[in-house]
Symmetry: C2
Subunit: 502 residues, 2 copies
């Protein structure tokens, strides 16, 4: 029994509760909240954010942390106690650099900005969102300056989402990735000229929902400890290891949007639901980094859900559910359709080949904004220029351009790169899972995911935040972050799929 560690945990528990309460309010805001409530909700989120912050940076935390640090000296690195103290130390050091007022102001401003973003997007009117974004950028710069950084202001923000990662590391991965990916993507796009109009006809929304839920249950999502709702932008949020919520948006006229959205968020949720029960209500109950989180969602969405093996099992039930749409479409045709590669404007609907291009253009823009080389007012134009540069396309309006993503309305600058990092990690992890699970392809072909989930639980999920992204990757995949395996996966999959040697 560690009295000091226990006292420290007891001290932190109400802070975790406040963060969870804020997450519930945030979830409600995106799913059910009536429009008129926005000002009140912003105030409530501001208060919760400020109180959680104040309690965390209190002198008492420092004292209890110091006592706990003494107590865990010599304990095993992986132990719950040593890990909690290690992670808490890092969090505390960062939090104490942030004034409570700035924290509350960011929570309040981003709650308001979300509503403005939704309205702006639905009217394709960037002007409506612009003052909010200017405010959030200004507050984010203040936050980055308060947190401090060694090399680049971006490092301070990126560290929130991908602890330990720096702008220059991202840049060097992206540089290598870009030089291979741009010609590769162009080559695949040039070959993939097939049209698959059957995906675009009207699919009953409830049937889409039910089909997605059935697969989520097969994957292992526990609906006694979570649920799915609808929202404008799909997301996963956690109020407890035993209460993990995902949302999805379903397009009546485009089957893959809802289905793969559900599988994607389900991947995030499996991570959260798989964290060891004894980490509940501690700082360790969360993902190691957003990159690792994204590796889980992309693994289930893409490497499982868009694989040929997967549809060996699921295509027949899908055909039975939509006989009018898919009765005459054979499985291989469907498989090619859901892996159609083409330059497109909306990130969340991009294929896996061009997806990382969307990330790289956002990364470029964020750097420009933070270095002051780009004004928010000029962002739509800059966005369109980048879209042309990376994708060869120009958005018709801001709704399918600069306003398409929720992230900046959450002041989440530094978030986007983690999507690409997650893609790379997902392949590194999945390759190793295939090495270690005999017969994994066949299992997927039979709709059996138990062994894969157990492997991920053991290697990734159960650890929560105890280990860093690097530690997890090195232990689970036996390698550091690398773009090679992902590029190799793309080459292999699409060479096979198109009968062309990329």
């Amino acid at each position: 029994m560690q009295a000091a560690v226990q006292a420290f945990k007891d001290h932190l528990a109400p802070i975790i509760d406040l963060r969870a309460a804020a997450a519930v309010l945030g979830w409600d805001q995106e799913t059910y909240m009536p429009r008129g409530a926005i000002e009140a909700r912003a105030a409530q989120l501001g208060t919760l954010g400020r109180l959680a912050h104040e309690l965390f940076v209190a002198d008492e935390t420092a004292e209890l942390l110091a006592a706990a640090q003494k107590e865990v000296e010599g304990m095993e690195y992986d132990s719950d106690e040593a890990s909690l103290v290690r992670v808490a130390e890092r969090d505390f050091e960062k939090a104490t650099k942030l004034p409570s007022e700035l924290v509350a102001e960011l929570a309040r401003a981003s709650s308001l900005a979300q509503q403005a973003w939704q309205e702006a997007r639905s009217e394709a009117d960037f002007g409506r969102f612009r003052p909010h974004l200017e405010k959030l950028l200004e507050l984010s710069v203040q936050k980055a300056e308060a947190l401090g950084y060694e090399e680049h202001i971006y490092d301070a923000l990126l560290d929130e989402y991908e602890p330990g990662m720096t702008k220059s590391e991202v840049e060097s991965v992206f540089d290598r990735l870009r030089s291979d990916l741009v010609p590769l993507a162009m080559a695949i796009v040039a070959v993939d000229r097939e049209k698959h109009s059957f995906l675009l006809s009207s699919y009953d929304i409830q049937s889409q929902w039910d089909f997605g839920v059935a697969i989520m249950m097969d994957f292992g999502f526990d609906f006694e400890r979570g649920r799915q709702d609808r929202s404008a932008h799909p997301f996963t949020t956690t109020f407890s290891i035993n209460d993990v919520r995902v949302t999805t948006r379903i397009h009546e006229d485009f089957l893959p949007a809802g289905l793969f959205g559900s599988l994607h968020e389900c991947g995030h949720a499996l991570y959260e639901q798989g964290i060891s029960a004894h980490l509940e209500r501690t700082l360790l109950a969360g993902g190691a980094s957003l990159g690792v989180h994204e590796s889980q969602s992309r693994l289930w969405e893409i490497l499982v859900g868009r694989s040929r093996e997967f549809w060996t099992h699921y295509y027949e039930p899908l055909q039975e559910r939509f006989p009018g749409h898919l009765g005459d479409v054979d499985r291989e045709q469907f498989y090619r359709a859901i892996n159609k590669v083409e330059a497109s404007l909306i990130r969340v609907e991009a294929d896996e080949v061009t997806y990382n291009l969307h990330i790289m253009m956002r990364f470029d823009l964020e750097i420009d904004l933070l270095e002051g080389r780009l004004e928010v007012a000029d962002l739509p134009e800059a966005w369109n220029a980048k879209a042309e540069e990376y994708l060869g396309l120009v958005p018709a309006d801001d709704a399918e351009g600069v306003l398409q993503d929720i992230h900046w309305s959450l002041a989440a600058f530094g978030y986007f790169p983690t999507y690409a990092l997650g893609n790379l990690m997902s392949v590194q992890l999945f390759n190793r899972a295939k090495d270690e699970i005999r017969d994994l392809d066949n299992q997927i072909g039979r709709g059996e995911f138990g062994e894969l989930l157990s492997w991920l639980r053991d290697k990734i999920h159960r650890h929560g935040r105890k280990l860093t992204a690097n530690e997890l990757l090195e232990r689970a995949a036996g390698s550091k972050l690398s773009e090679g395996p992902w590029l190799e996966h793309i080459r292999r999959k699409y060479s096979d799929l198109m009968g062309v040697d990329f």
Copy 2:
């Protein structure tokens, strides 16, 4: 500009935010939360309750209150400032008597008890709920003792819901009411032998929902500042004047349950949505008492919604929606059916005549529990005996007996009497509204509620908690609380309805 009052308001605002956050978590628990989340949710609600309480009872509150008190000296009684200070003083005095740990423990225990109650009810197994109820009773006694009282322990609890009211006042109203009502109800029941099986056939749930929502909109519920969801037990909860949530439960096989449930909660919601906007995020943004609150819900549900005039307008659309069920049922027959009087076991489905009997039996039991004359273990038996005494019926199991109501799982001892008080007040208010609004019956007969709502807004809603229940009643209805008008309403309505002189 009142600097001290403003400082006091600023100090209280985060406390209001925390309470609102707790309300969101409570709403979610009753509507969408997965079962597995209950322990975490209880902890979260415990933390929010404790923090809100700690912030409120802090020395700073006393200091700021004292300064504000000085500043409002000589101000008009009805002014926002003087009212805020007056109400805050009362709240503060009570809150400082309660230890924070007790507040947190009550929040935590009742969150757990709600889940246990739901499970116990669905399995008709009181034993499962019993330890929770024992715990809540014990904590409630502690709470009452901490709050203190002059005459009776019940007064301390009742005061939470009906400020200023005492057990002996309730008793004397109930005594007078009982002596007239018991023979009156028996007489009406004896005459009303008609069966109306058409209400019991299967009504499409979505159509029921839509019909109820349409009437809510006609009443004036603002769906931009509120919404309706489903829950096991209908309730209204407020996160802001601009975010008022109602829930309902719809029975496929009994049309009135969902419909009148919606109209009832809508009445509560109209009150909350009608509070003056400048009371937002202050202690004054709420109802004067639960009795006054219930007067609003019953006014809209019963005095409007179950009146002959109302169905003059709405019966045709209802028939059109359910032609198979109601095509051959004439309006008067329907009117008699929804006002059918009979002894029954479930309070929320009771007719307006026997409803108060349900309340009186609960009041008796609460007094017995609090005076220690009744053990929780013996409650089911005592319940059944009371049901037989008041209603002439014995529940077949605890689900339709002692487990039917959520209130005790919320530790809401002292709450039930407010239902009966609300019934009495509703008639006092509605009588005055009829005096002051020429043509009100005809307006209702045309589905026009604007003038009635405006009258209620002016007399009741806009004041929030500025005035007490007595003050509101004396100003709006010109009389003190009295059972006479309600009894007279029942006699008149049912004499007319049944052609018998009661």
